[in-house]
């Protein structure tokens, strides 16, 4: 009858690992080892996706938009460029400029990469891949994602470079201006779902909304509240720093902003952090608005990947097509536009939910 919905996974990944490896007898230690293995697995999935996205997919996607060809010399479809680029990037010299503020300078890229990875801990990815499901999952994911601002301002400030300084300040100004609307929109979803637990947010969206020609349309929040979905997409573009909101890097204005002075592995970490951030943004959007891993026929995890790659594609599309706004215009849009609209969205949602409840 209706759209086949992947049944909600109640068993978390660490518990499965405990079962599979027979670690029940080891108590807390067994759970700890299983948790580490689960985190390792999820982190590696994300790193592999980044490795595909950074050196290869991004270039191919951009080439499609710009009438270019992009990598096609190394391996089939140029896929081996991933290996070549990894070797190239990792073997580059780390140049440490004079007068940088160590260890803040070294910690910054690690914080940026780490904060994005941490967020995936609470994301239900379907097919049983879900590391942890705390009651405050939604709060956790936004909290760790915004940690990256600390990394950016650390990098900008510690680099002893005026361009880095400007970039770091821009990054913080932008993240504050856009994180508040982002969270307010997420709150409207939470009000609707009545829970902060990620698995429950996904479960609520699995309920059929209406029947169209015999097919049940699930009550994904993107369908229930397209306005909030649209706002969230825009705020997310700013959050991950892509056009039209890529002012913190703005290579034509301030070289590369906070990452101007980074080379070698540190540069890789910054880039890694940025890409994982884009994927985390996609994962949050998928979980909050697109029913998480839900989808017909294919396994849940595949649907989850399709959704976050779709969001990745959207960021690359924006990057190819729209100009960058000026930093003051960017703050205007954030504080005077998005913030007001997201408050409006929140109040309306609260009213509607209140009426339904009454």
């Amino acid at each position: 009858m209706g759209l086949p919905v992947t049944p909600l996974e109640t068993v978390l990944l660490p518990e499965r690992i405990v079962d599979a490896l027979g670690l029940e007898g080891y108590g807390v230690l067994g759970e700890f080892v299983a948790g580490l293995l689960a985190a390792f697995l999820v982190a590696n999935i994300m790193l592999i996706m980044t490795a595909v996205a950074g050196p290869w997919a991004k270039r191919k996607i951009r080439a499609r938009f710009t009438d270019a060809i992009a990598v096609n010399r190394v391996g089939p479809f140029g896929l081996l460029i991933i290996v070549a680029d990894a070797v190239r990037l990792l073997s580059k010299e780390i140049i440490i400029p004079e007068g940088v503020d160590r260890p803040a300078w070294e910690l910054a890229p690690i914080i940026v990469a780490l904060s994005a990875l941490l967020g995936f801990a609470v994301i239900p990815m379907g097919s049983g891949i879900h590391v942890a499901d705390p009651e405050v999952g939604a709060v956790f994911v936004f909290a760790v994602a915004s940690l990256s601002s600390v990394g950016l301002v650390m990098g900008g400030y510690a680099s002893n470079n005026k361009y880095s300084m400007l970039g770091g300040l821009r990054a913080v100004a932008q993240n504050i201006a856009y994180e508040i609307p982002l969270i307010l929109i997420a709150v409207s979803v939470v009000v609707f779902a009545g829970t902060l637990r990620m698995s429950e947010i996904v479960a609520v969206q699995a309920e059929p909304l209406i029947l169209v020609a015999g097919i049940a349309i699930p009550s994904w929040f993107a369908i229930v509240n397209p306005f909030a979905f649209f706002l969230f997409l825009i705020a997310n573009l700013a959050e991950v720093g892509r056009n039209p909101f890529d002012t913190p890097e703005a290579p034509n204005e301030i070289i590369a902003g906070y990452q101007t002075e980074y080379s070698g592995v540190y540069f890789v970490l910054f880039y890694l952090g940025e890409f994982i951030h884009i994927f985390l943004g996609g994962a949050i959007i998928a979980t909050f608005f697109l029913g998480g891993p839900a989808g017909p026929v294919l396994p849940g995890f595949v649907w989850f990947l399709i959704k976050i790659w779709a969001i990745f594609l959207l960021t690359q599309w924006a990057r190819s097509a729209v100009p960058r706004v000026r930093i003051d215009q960017l703050l205007d849009i954030g504080w005077k536009g998005l913030l007001v609209l997201s408050f409006l969205n929140l109040i309306l949602t609260a009213l509607i939910v209140g009426v339904i409840a009454a």
Binding site: D246, P251, N252, E253, P323, R324, V325, R326
Partner: protein, 553 residues
């Protein structure tokens, strides 16, 4: 509009005798240059004389300042023109003492004299009194000697002690109390379009002061031209000034000046080919300008810059078919062009027509869709980097920069050469003077150039086969009469590209001076950018469309 119908508005008729009468005892002599009458004045009367010329005789454009050294004296020549009618020209010659070359600065009358006199001081060594900031402009501050003088020793190495460069910013440290920071933008920066250094003083994100520091790409072009023979050795150099595809226009600038100097006629057929080639060059140059500007405003991963390069490539292919070269064309010759349209002619014309009639309109629609109609783009560009009309005149701005500030000037129409006056096309102007209008003017000019190319193709297709004369009879060795002087300009892709040549009776020029449009346009940058944000500074710089090879020569 063709020139024949164009009656210049606001142009003032000038009678040389009247000028001499009005200037009275400031005048110490008279001369006749090939392009204009000249008066020789006392070096302490420059400001008064130029003020009279500007205010009473309508010379609102100081085209160029040429400095020269002679065995017994130095000379500065102020080439005056009127924006409304650039054929009304006048030269003010200021001789100074050989031992103490000092003359009054014109910077208080024409803003554009500021940079030009700095260049004259740098290369020739004339000291301009009361100049606001007389220091070297093309060569480093530590340079000793003035390279275009006869007693300069080229073989002596320029040794600079390390101490002199140890910390060039030491004086700029403003202490903890200061509200501003000094930001060095360049010489290596993604948005400087070459090696340009901007000393930017920032108040937060706002630009409090910006000072362009040029000369990183100075290649002694004027001196090299002075060491080449008119007939063959100079023509390759112009390709290297505005090297971003505008080569044929540059070559025409030299050809026009030299042909007037040596009184060489050019066959009509060659003029048509020249006109077509120059407009193709202009299109390629404008496409590149558009592409790089889009990079500055959109960021580096956008589609439009690639589209612009793709279209430029099509023009480039046509130019390659015509000249055999992609960048350094070396196609024009004194008295004509190197060779005829390549065989098979029909195929060449088909290619050009396919581009102008089918491909270009489609890609122009795309440009208007993605760029000029884009709201975010308008948000960024409308009302920023404004250059007022009168300010633009003061700085001697030209080309799209001047036309976007509402100055209706175009040498192709006002001082016609080639066959421009027989064709149907328009001069594009806009009144706003902001970044947006400069881009818009450039985009529309591409369409006009395509119109000109199309008409040239029609003319060439119907040209009778036995009348295809590409080259007039020019002596193997050209020796123009000594002391003949000419200043001639063409409308370059960036504005008035002028060449001053003084013949000294040999087969090489006695003095060869290049008036670069980018040089004048770049000097307007502080007017556009001060008080704006950093992104506006970048957008303004991009909208000026500088080619550092032409700025620094």
């Amino acid at each position: 509009m063709s020139t024949l119908e164009h009656a210049p508005e606001g142009a003032v008729e000038v009678d040389p005798d009247e000028v001499v009468d009005r200037l009275g005892d400031r005048v110490i002599g008279r001369d006749e240059h090939v392009n204009a009458p000249a008066v020789i004045i006392r070096p302490d009367e420059v400001v008064d004389t130029l003020t009279v010329m500007r205010d009473e005789f309508g010379f609102d454009l100081l085209s160029c300042v040429t400095a020269e050294q002679f065995p017994d004296r130095y000379e500065s020549i102020y080439h005056l023109k009127q924006y409304a009618d650039p054929t009304t020209e006048f030269s003010i010659v200021v001789p100074t003492d050989r031992d103490h070359p000092q003359s009054q600065s014109a910077a208080s009358v024409y803003e554009t004299a500021n940079w030009h006199e700095r260049e004259a001081y740098d290369l020739i060594g004339i000291e301009y009194q009361d100049h606001p900031d007389l220091k070297r402009i093309l060569l480093p501050d530590t340079w000793t000697g003035h390279p275009l003088t006869d007693d300069y020793n080229q073989d002596k190495p320029q040794v600079v002690a390390y101490e002199a460069h140890e910390n060039p910013l030491l004086d700029h440290t403003e202490g903890a109390e200061s509200d501003t920071i000094l930001l060095n933008m360049g010489p290596h920066h993604p948005a400087t379009h070459g090696v340009l250094h901007l000393k930017v003083t920032l108040d937060g994100e706002q630009v409090a002061d910006v000072e362009p520091d040029i000369g990183y790409l100075h290649r002694c072009e004027e001196q090299m031209c002075q060491q080449g023979t008119y007939r063959h050795q100079i023509m390759p150099y112009p390709d290297r000034w505005d090297y971003a595809s505008a080569g044929l226009i540059n070559e025409w600038a030299y050809a026009r000046a030299a042909e007037d100097l040596a009184e060489i006629e050019v066959p009509e057929y060659a003029q048509v080919i020249r006109t077509m080639g120059a407009e193709l060059s202009r299109m390629a140059a404008h496409f590149l300008a558009l592409g790089t500007f889009v990079l500055d405003v959109y960021g580096e991963f956008n589609a439009l810059s690639m589209y612009a390069i793709r279209d430029r490539e099509k023009v480039q292919k046509i130019l390659e078919d015509l000249t055999g070269q992609r960048l350094m064309f070396n196609y024009l010759r004194l008295g004509g062009v190197a060779w005829d349209i390549p065989e098979p002619r029909e195929e060449f014309f088909e290619n050009v027509k396919k581009f102008t009639d089918e491909e270009l309109p489609a890609s122009m629609d795309e440009v208007h869709d993605l760029l000029t109609d884009n709201e975010i783009f308008q948000l960024r560009c409308v009302g920023t980097g404004v250059l007022e009309r009168e300010v633009a005149k003061q700085y001697g701005a030209g080309g799209p920069v001047a036309r976007a500030s509402g100055i209706d000037t175009d040498l192709r129409r006002d001082d016609p050469y080639g066959i421009y006056d027989q064709l149907d096309w328009e001069v594009i102007t806009d009144d706003a003077g902001d970044v947006y209008s400069r881009v818009l003017v450039r985009v529309r000019e591409v369409e006009q150039s395509a119109k000109i190319v199309r008409q040239c193709v029609d003319l060439l297709e119907d040209w009778p086969e036995d009348e295809r004369e590409i080259q007039s009879n020019v002596p193997r060795t050209l020796k123009p009469d000594p002391d003949r002087r000419v200043y001639r300009a063409v409308e370059g892709a960036k504005g008035e590209l002028g060449i001053y040549i003084r013949a000294d009776g040999t087969d090489k020029p006695g003095r060869f001076k290049i008036r670069s449009p980018c040089f004048c346009n770049l000097s307007t940058l502080p007017e556009m950018a001060e008080g704006e944000f950093i992104p506006d500074l970048i957008a303004s710089l991009g909208s000026i469309d500088i080619i550092l090879g032409e700025v620094d020569r």
